[in-house]
């Protein structure tokens, strides 16, 4: 992997970390609950 790609991934991860840390506790709980249910979306679409 090139140096530039590693830099981009690191910047992306840092941005995501900062973004998440800025979210309110309530927003984090909501997104966590939403993510918990995502594995079921595909099978549910076929019911």
């Amino acid at each position: 992997m090139s140096h530039a790609k590693i830099k981009l991934i690191a910047i992306g991860l840092a941005a995501a970390f900062i973004g998440l840390s800025q979210l309110s506790e309530s927003r984090k709980r909501f997104l966590k609950e939403l993510l918990r249910q995502t594995p079921y979306l595909i099978p549910r679409y076929f019911v």
Partner: protein
């Protein structure tokens, strides 16, 4: 040649609506109901001269119901005597203080401003947002099929204003109301309504916060009890030839090569039809009445992945005095965070709270004919759930009734304990036994984003030909207008696909 064109399983609102509309299409329809009464949770029973509503206590957002009656060649207002409930609600705090919200938006702003001028001002901003969303959603969402992602895309294409509301799907109900209202006393009047969807305010999207607004579009009570709504639909259907059989339990749906062929009753009788409409819980339908061996693998995994919706206990009380209340609905106040904590610490751990909250419904405030002269009816909906840690509802029921009445006597309905003449209770276990709602699930299945619209069991079964779904299990979900909307959707899909 089959016995009927269509068999409907379950005479709840979705079932009778689909049945009546299919009879209107000229089809020979048979509705089978396992209990002795129609309406499911939207029903009324009598005891010692008092009439009690089984579950649903009022009706609002009535446009889908009006559409159903218009399609049947009449009007909702002509068939059902609707009484307007104004004020909409009184919120009672544990210190005895009360806030009453009238139906009028302006008068509600005044009530809020009396507590917090800033929140009163923001009430108008909240109303503007929710009014626009309600207008968009009523036309495009509630009475339209949500079969595929393409349907959803068409919905957005038809009214691009939907895009404006996308961010509200990515923040919680709690985030949204806390953006508009800062005073804790006002927040205590807005958070509970998330439980109308069966989830705490931290778990469902902000867009569901439309309820504290739609209550102001009109709240109605049908004279004679909630059963008057399904009764009126049944009456229209029977005029068109629809047949209803009560006390008739369906044991199995006959399926051959993934196509329905009719039903088998509990007594072994076979009744044939090319179309079966289910108005029962979708998990019961697919896993018990059809059998998972008939389902494609993904559908099998999908139907098993749904959790049952919330359950509630109901306490029905006949009184020999006028309860000291102000509105048809009163709510025991609780903050949004209080509702979340109740969910995490009580519901998920199976521990009933010592100090409860919930709704007090006073139907004789609107309709005195529900009780003997000078007497009153209260239908109490304290919060509760199906699974209890270390005990069961049959054991807990007497203690639960006593604890609830004692608690209300202290600060919300003084004197109630001394004036009870009749008391009845339906626990979640009773709802399971009497109405066959698994785990007492009043909205059938969970109602968060992951189980909404195209992710809720489809109105036209994807796995079984000739099978259609109505009721809380399918789009647009649980509630009186929504289940009636599901009946409209199923009948329009049948008109389209079953010539």
């Amino acid at each position: 040649m089959t016995d009927y064109d269509v068999i409907v399983i379950g005479a709840g609102n979705g079932g009778v609506t689909a049945g009546a509309l299919l009879a209107k299409q000229g089809r020979k329809v048979l509705v089978l109901e396992q209990s002795g009464r129609i309406g499911g949770c939207c029903s009324t029973f009598e005891k010692d001269g008092y009439r009690f509503d089984v579950g649903a206590s009022i009706v609002e957002v009535i446009r889908p119901i009006e559409i159903a009656f218009e399609k049947l060649g009449t009007t909702f207002q002509k068939e059902v005597d609707l009484i307007t409930c104004d004020p909409v609600m009184t919120i009672i705090d544990r210190d005895g203080s009360r806030i009453t919200y009238p139906s009028s938006i302006d008068a509600t702003a005044e009530a809020i401003s009396a507590i917090s001028a800033a929140d009163g001002k923001r009430w108008y901003e909240f109303v503007a947002l929710m009014a626009e969303f309600t207008e968009v959603a009523l036309d495009a969402f509630f009475v339209q099929p949500a079969e595929t992602l393409a349907d959803m895309a068409r919905m957005f294409k038809k009214d691009p204003r939907f895009f404006k509301f996308l961010p509200l799907f990515l923040k919680s109900y709690q985030d949204l109301i806390e953006k508009y209202f800062k005073d804790e006393r006002i927040l205590k009047t807005m958070g509970y309504q998330s439980l109308y969807f069966g989830h705490p305010p931290a778990h469902i999207p902000g867009i569901f916060a439309l309820i504290p607004y739609t209550e102001h579009l009109g709240v109605y009570y049908p004279r004679g009890g909630m059963i008057k709504i399904p009764e009126a639909i049944r009456r229209c259907g029977e005029k068109l030839g629809m047949e209803v059989r009560l006390n008739t339990l369906v044991a199995r749906i006959m399926v051959k090569k993934r196509r329905v062929e009719g039903v088998v009753l509990a007594d072994g009788t076979e009744i044939t039809a090319k179309i079966v409409v289910s108005n029962i819980n979708a998990r019961t339908l697919y896993l018990d009445l059809i059998g998972e061996e008939h389902l494609p693998a993904l559908a099998r995994a999908g139907i098993k992945s749904y959790r049952y919706s919330k359950a509630v206990p109901m306490i029905y009380v006949g009184l020999d005095y006028t309860p000291p209340l102000d509105s048809h609905h009163s709510l025991i106040a609780i903050t949004p965070e209080g509702v979340n904590n109740y969910w995490w610490h009580n519901v998920e751990k199976g521990r009933l709270p010592q100090q409860n909250f919930g709704l007090i419904c006073w139907p004789t405030h609107a309709d005195a004919s529900l009780a003997p002269q000078g007497r009153h009816v209260l239908n109490l909906i304290p919060e509760g759930f199906y699974h209890l840690e270390g005990t069961d509802w049959d054991t807990e029921k007497p203690r639960f009734i006593e604890r609830t009445l004692a608690d209300l006597d202290r600060f919300a309905v003084p004197g109630i304990r001394d004036h009870v003449t009749v008391v009845e209770c339906s626990t979640p276990l009773d709802f399971e036994r009497r109405l066959r709602l698994p785990e007492g699930s009043i909205y059938a299945l969970q109602q968060d984003l992951s189980a909404a619209a195209v992710f809720r069991p489809n109105a036209r079964s994807r796995g079984i030909k000739g099978l259609y779904l109505t009721g809380s299990s399918t789009h647009p979900g649980g509630g009186v207008p929504t289940t009636i909307a599901s009946g409209i959707i199923a009948s329009s899909l049948i008109a389209q696909y079953e010539q």
